[in-house]
């Protein structure tokens, strides 16, 4: 029962805030913070009891529908994987919610924001605790809805409203894949539970690769993998805490979680794993190149999120769920930190262009220090968290995937260090570009979460490192094998990250031009291609959106010309016939009818009083008549 309370607390808070939120005024966040703190406490309690005892994971299961001999069971399962996700979601989520109090303080829909956040937490916790595909799918769709509501939270802004629609429709394309996979599993095996997925994989037979790829298709929609990545950068139109919570730390990680959870379905199918690896590395590499060219602080972080999610998928494609999940956890901490730091900066300077910022470390020391910690963690400098999880991914890839993947991951790693250092240098160092504004440090509700998150960004990685004896791996029940070649990989990884940072420092810190003029001129078409985000949006616009619109216009003109023409023709014919009838009418029928008409007119005038035009009066009369008829039938009014 304790298990069910984890998602139910936020649901309760949602119900209270959506119905009575306005009455709470500026105390609305207290309700949602208290509810989420309850979920967090329960998650920690379950985590500790899992750590200390060897009992099986808590499992709550009941029959939801019993229908024509079939029954559908619903349930919650708190195994180590789910509990890890719960801790990440509730822990980071609580800090982000606290931060939102400062960020949203003057918003007219203040309480509504916290209501939506609560609904999101309910959905996300349901998703990760679900013990079967159906409940997971319910949570999956609900987080999509919350994402839509929160991206277009400032729906007066057209860009925000459009971004919300785009996110909802694009992820819906992915959801279709997941739904198809679930229906296939239900039809072929009839067992939708997560508890025995290896047997499910065996029962699927030759359909198994199809199901696995369809599941990845769903995961790609939610985790914004190529070619369904287009919604995530646009989603940055939402409030920054939302970007941090939903579009960096938690919801977009749902796809990675889904693949990790259903790993037994992928394992017997190397082809399906290869699809995951290829699309993951494409996303990761392309997004990293785009991030190097963006000048909008949130867009840099958005493309960086795409790149890191791709990296997690490549990690999963090695066939072990651990490296991807580990990177998910560390990424959640440092990326939430980076987004909240960006929010703090945007809150202070009221725009997002890094080319117009500079020298901000002096007025905002806390934001600058925490942001730099997050950046270093993401760049992969030991002993911060990003280093350890990236190393796990590198080792896993070097064991199971072809060499080009390893090379590309190193390239991504170098670019990551480059673009995040570029963002840090342009934002916080150099001289202020804008002498009119007077930025100031954010209030403690915003800087407090930054400090706590930076502690996580520094320390969480250690849980999975060899310095703590691979504690995280043990918790997830994974055997740690001896890492051969790990040291070489580590050294290359540090060297690559260091090179990226130094290049960024030389180019943006000291202002050196790194390439000679002719090389820059030769490469400028590539630069335009990358800065234009590879024109994927434009491609979709030309290939999908415009043809559909053209089709719609064609259908409209068909309707206007052919269908309406037929109707109008029938109308004209009817008119001609009517003219003929009119002659007969006027000369023969009218005399007879007029007499009758006058009589009817008088009777009608009397009944007219009954015709009030109010639909509810009619219903009342009908109801009264029914009662009278009933009484007559029963013989009471005889």
């Amino acid at each position: 029962m304790k298990l069910a309370l984890i998602p139910l607390f936020p649901l309760l808070s949602f119900a209270i805030l959506i119905l009575f939120g306005r009455r709470f005024g500026k105390f609305a966040p207290a309700v949602s913070l208290a509810a989420l703190a309850g979920s967090l406490a329960l998650s920690i309690h379950l985590f500790l009891s899992l750590l200390s005892s060897s009992l099986p994971a808590p499992h709550l299961s009941f029959t939801w529908l019993s229908f024509g001999g079939q029954s559908l069971r619903m349930g919650l399962l708190a195994d180590p994987l789910s509990i890890t996700m719960c801790l990440v979601i509730t822990g980071i989520g609580w800090l982000i919610m606290l931060y939102s109090i400062g960020y949203m303080h003057s918003d007219p829909r203040f309480s509504r924001f916290f209501a939506y956040l609560s609904l999101f937490f309910c959905a996300m916790l349901t998703l990760v605790l679900a013990d079967n595909f159906i409940l997971l799918y319910i949570g999956w769709e609900l987080v999509g809805l919350c994402s839509y509501l929160l991206i277009s939270f400032w729906f007066e802004k057209e860009a925000a409203a459009n971004a919300g629609k785009k996110a909802f429709l694009t992820t819906r394309v992915g959801d279709l894949g997941l739904l198809a996979a679930i229906l296939l599993i239900a039809k072929l095996t009839g067992n939708l539970s997560f508890t025995d997925l290896s047997a499910t994989a065996a029962a699927l037979g030759r359909w198994a690769p199809v199901v696995a790829v369809l599941i990845f298709w769903g995961a790609a929609g939610k985790s914004a993998q190529f070619p369904l990545h287009v919604w995530l950068p646009d989603a940055m139109e939402g409030p920054t805490p939302v970007s941090a919570l939903i579009h960096a730390a938690t919801m977009v990680a749902a796809g990675v979680y889904l693949v990790a959870r259903t790993m037994p379905l992928f394992l017997p199918n190397p082809d399906a794993l290869l699809v995951v690896a290829v699309l993951g590395i494409i996303t990761s590499f392309f997004a990293a190149t785009v991030a190097c060219t963006q000048t909008d602080l949130k867009k840099v972080l958005a493309y960086s999120t795409l790149s890191q999610l791709g990296l997690m998928m490549v990690g999963l494609a090695s066939g072990e769920p651990f490296p991807g999940m580990f990177h998910l956890v560390t990424h959640a901490w440092f990326k939430a930190l980076l987004f909240l730091g960006a929010g703090s900066v945007i809150h202070a300077v009221h725009h997002q262009e890094i080319t117009r910022m500079g020298g901000l470390w002096r007025p905002m020391p806390v934001t600058a220090a925490t942001f730099i910690l997050g950046s270093v963690a993401m760049a992969g400098i030991p002993p911060l968290s990003g280093f350890w999880s990236k190393e796990e991914i590198l080792v896993a890839i070097s064991h199971s995937l072809p060499a080009p993947f390893l090379a590309l991951v190193f390239a991504v790693s170098g670019m990551t260090a480059f673009y995040i250092s570029r963002a840090v240098i342009l934002t916080f160092f150099g001289s202020p570009k804008d002498s009119h504004s007077h930025p100031h440090e954010s209030p403690w509700v915003m800087t407090g979460p930054l400090v706590v998150l930076s502690v996580g960004a520094v320390g969480v990685g250690l849980l999975g490192s060899r310095w703590t004896g691979h504690a995280f791996q043990h918790f997830l029940g994974i055997q740690t094998q001896a890492h051969e070649g790990g040291h070489t990989l580590q050294q290359i990884s540090i060297a690559v990250a260091g090179t990226g940072i130094l290049l960024a420092l030389a180019r943006y810190g000291f202002g050196w031009q790194l390439l000679p003029v002719f090389a820059r001129r030769a490469l400028s078409p590539f630069y335009r291609l990358i800065a234009g985000k590879y024109f994927v949006d434009e491609l979709y616009d030309a290939l999908l959106i415009r043809p559909v619109q053209t089709l719609a216009r064609k259908a409209f003109s068909f309707d206007a010309k052919v269908v309406d023409g037929a109707v109008n023709g029938a109308g004209s014919a009817g008119l001609a016939a009517s003219r003929a009838k009119r002659w007969i009418d006027e000369h023969w029928v009218d005399g007879a009818v007029n007499g009758l008409g006058i009589t009817v007119g008088r009777v009608g005038a009397a009944f007219r009083q009954l015709q009030t035009g109010l639909v509810q009066n009619y219903l009342m009369i009908a109801f009264g008549s029914a009662v009278v008829l009933f009484l007559l039938w029963k013989g009471i009014l005889r």
Binding site: F607, Q609, G613, L614, Q616, L619, F623
Partner: protein, 103 residues
């Protein structure tokens, strides 16, 4: 122990009465639509309850209830579209101000 049939019927009758009262008294057309949903659901409750009593496969009543749910959703869509159209033309959705059919 299963819930006895009369109890379900009483709940259902209550639900019907609340819904019917709402249809008769709400000024807001959307409120009337919501009340109609209550009436439909009271009927669903009856269907499901009777299906458990009746010695069939046990699914007939549930099938009918599912059909009602589906049709209710479609009905709500049409109803809301009508309300929206009325609002665009007349700038009100108060039931007592929509009396175009007055004799």
């Amino acid at each position: 122990m299963p819930v006895p049939l009369p109890h379900v019927l009483i709940v259902s009758a209550g639900l019907f009465a609340i819904g019917f009262f709402g249809v008769l008294t709400r000024r807001n057309t959307i409120g009337i639509l919501m009340s109609i949903e209550l009436i439909l659901n009271s009927a669903n409750l009856n269907l499901v309850a009777f299906s458990r009593i009746w010695k069939g496969t046990g699914a007939e009543g549930q099938m009918a209830a599912l059909l009602v749910i589906g049709i209710a959703a479609a009905g709500a869509v049409v109803g809301l579209a009508l309300v929206l159209a009325i609002f665009r033309h007349r700038n009100t959705i108060a039931a007592d101000e929509i009396r175009l059919l007055k004799g």
